[in-house]
Symmetry: D2
Subunit: 142 residues, 4 copies
């Protein structure tokens, strides 16, 4: 079964705007953080740091985001980003990412998104992801 | 015919990330800026400042964003956000927003997005947009 | 003896700029996060959430920042913000905040700052801090 | 006499936080924007784009910021950043930057800062600024 990774994040002052809630663009930061923590785990399981990964392989760029905002988030809220691969090819990856608030027993969906990534080399040209990243879907610890 | 508003923006250091290009979440800031300038014009044509509008009516919150990233943007790039209403109801508005780079004679599409807004009062509850905003689509000067 | 609070933070893509290092304004976010976590602990020891604190008392606004940037920070770096009260009056607080990188045994100073805060009510007017906040300097657990 | 450059900026939603005013770290973005526009003019007077400048010479990194926040800024406020060189050496530059609000006839000081920059090459090592930048103080048009 595919993994779902859970990344806790707390809303900071810098995330909010003058309507009193989290500014919509910062949800993308939350999701980027969650994905990078999964990549970090995958790198660790393959004996390298993410810095070494960026140096030796390349990095992911965002090709598309489709996000629905369902409930506002406020200062100091504890949120959890639940991330899951939904598909991948040698050069692309699709993620489903849900932003939840509240405690585990009464979680509420605050936003849900599909995020498409492409893998590129330092020259920003498309590149195949390293094969061991393919196992990420099921074998990287949550 | 429906208006298309053109908002010039220059890429600043704060917009970029360590891959050398504009960080994906900042495209949402560019589009937010472009929409707020249209609102500003609509308010001016109705004899009020945007501050008065927020005080007396309410504000728009983003309900969904569907964005495709097509070409990277770099430091100092001059971009133009081309914004257009595609539909609206008393409580919702749909925008098409295209981010272009290059000069007018050789513009290239760097990102395109559909953005759905809802209108809310200060209590964050849905509210009808003021009727004069309905004329925005065709009557507000570009 | 005065407390020093240690707040770990990991550098994310959103913090960096196209020079390859953390954009200078984001150091202020790191320090704001560290101070808010201290406030959270103080609130918890007094049986309230930070949200209740903001509702019932007010909040801190930054009056001045004096920051020296000493070493660059890069993507994925683990940093620690070391925060300490240096003085306080009924309406003002001074913090010394040092941003360190590396492991505890070989920490290096990357930035150091003095931050002056004022306490204000919801109307943004100066207000006395609640008395129990005065004990924060020595009695709030690290 | 030394130049003072005036850079208009309008406060956007992304600049504000849930206290209703501009988040303190974004003042540093305003000042960075103002400095980069001066650099752009200097480059233009020397027949190059800022991109060419970054490629061929290097860039400025912030060594220290000393900023006083005096009056809050709010959504849609029109501000002007008034920037001036106060001193420079082959490898460092000092700026005085004042953030003003209101119309020219009744400007009010909202923040003032001293910003110290160092010039570095792509390897992030200190480097001498090109000589023609020395003339920036008096000869670059406002």
């Amino acid at each position: 079964m595919a993994n779902k990774w859970r990344q806790p994040i707390q809303v900071q002052m810098a995330h909010t705007d003058c309507t009193g809630v989290v500014y919509h663009a910062h949800y993308l930061d939350f999701m980027e953080l969650a994905r990078s923590k999964v990549l970090e785990k995958a790198c660790q399981q393959n004996g390298m740091s993410t810095t070494q990964f960026y140096e030796n392989y390349g990095f992911f760029v965002v090709r598309s985001v489709n996000i629905n905002y369902r409930r506002p988030l406020r200062l100091s809220d504890q949120v959890t980003v639940v991330s899951e691969f939904t598909s991948q090819s040698p050069v692309r990856m699709m993620w489903q990412q849900d932003i939840m608030s509240g405690s585990a027993s009464s979680e509420r969906l605050c936003a849900d998104a599909q995020v498409e990534l492409a893998f590129v080399g330092k020259n920003m040209r498309p590149k195949k992801t390293p094969e061991w990243l393919w196992s990420l879907k099921t074998e990287v610890s949550e």
